[in-house]
Amino acid sequence: MPKSRPTRPVGETPPGGGDLPRTLPRVPSPPQEVRRAAVTLGAAVGVFGVSFGVVATGAGLSVPMAGAMSLFVFTGATQFAAVGVIDSGGSALAALGSGLLLGARHIGYGLALRRKLLPSRRRRLLAAQLLIDESTAMAVAQDDRRDAEGAFWWAGLSVFIAWNIGTLVGALFGDALGDPETLGLDAVFPAAFLALLVPFLRRRDGRAATVAGAAIGLALVPFAPAGGPIIAAAAGALVGLVFARPQEEDVPPPPEEPA
């Protein structure tokens, strides 16, 4: 850790990052609770990585192909969807379309994080590969910009390492671990995202956006292809905006009626 490391500002970082330098050599270390959460998420994802390895090789992918998919695509939902299409005999194009539809939510994650992470462009090119549900949720749950950056990298790398090791273990050795659902591990993800939503649930607009997003997602499950409900749920943010408590300074007084 360099001695000249700037002290963390007390409370919230001003919007826009204030006087933060353009590039930082190191990822700031987030609080211990955040590091612990990142490792916990990694552990759960790792077990699903094993499942992915098993499902991928079962669908006919070679071990290097399954491994490369986890390294380079690195989005669980997209990978499972693509492999599912392949397994059911669908075309490569159908697998691609279904995978990318599920991946479209990352546009929203990237937009939400563009002011939340530190501005180093070079690091963001790497960060983009680690932009997943878990890293985004961990980052947006932090108030401080340096904590958000640290949380993003800890969660992203923890999940990346676990997912890739898991994939190789599953592809090479099969599912000696058994079904992760027996251990209730599929319940980890909704629980984790619920916990990470708490900062939003404390605010009126955040609550409205969460509830609206959930309602839209739920309503569309029977009608939209996998991935569709989540993307459509982005409209919930508009509902949140309607419920935003207007701040005195940015609401101009109503124009006076001309006499």
């Binding site: 916990t40 759960a44 006919g60 380079f72 695509v73 005999g89 075309s91 490569a92 697998a95 691609l96 990318l100 939510r105 546009i107 929203g108 994650y109 990237g110 937009l111 939400a112 563009r114 002011r115 992470l117 963001r124 590969q129 932009l131 985004t136 949720a137 947006v140 659902e181 027996t182 209730g184 599929d186 319940a187 980890v188 993800f189 909704p190 629980a191 984790a192 995202f193 619920l194 939503l197 939003f200 956006a209 969460t210 509830v211 997003g213 959930a214 997602g217 739920l218 029977p222 996998a226 409900p229 989540i230 749920a233 982005a234 919930g236 943010a237 508009l238 509902v239 949140g240 905006l241």
Partner: protein, 102 residues
């Protein structure tokens, strides 16, 4: 041939492009304050949907199963201000127990 290295490369490039679009490409774009506010609320809407879809969704149908018990346990843990690890352990344990009992 239904799946191949070129198809895999296309999926990887496409996935990365979706991830990089907001984070890298549009980063310097100045947007109106209301739009920034909207983007700040996007995760709430998306994760709200993710929570319920991954709890009640089963392909294209809605089901009630052991995952609901897990989410309720997680909700109680969150409400009691439990730490993150406790929240996910409560959810996993509850779901596993309900499944084992079923």
């Amino acid at each position: 041939m239904s799946w191949s290295w070129p198809a895999l490369a296309a999926l990887a490039v496409g996935s990365y492009a979706l991830k990089a679009l907001g984070l890298v490409v549009l980063v310097d774009r100045q947007l109106p304050a209301r739009v920034e506010e909207l983007l700040g609320l996007l995760p709430a809407a998306l994760f709200g949907a993710l929570v319920v879809v991954s709890t009640f969704g089963d392909d294209q149908s809605l089901v009630l199963d052991a995952r609901v018990a897990g989410l309720v346990a997680a909700g109680i843990a969150v409400w009691r201000k439990a730490g993150f690890v406790i929240v996910v352990l409560a959810a996993a344990t509850t779901t596993a127990l309900v499944r084992a009992a079923a």
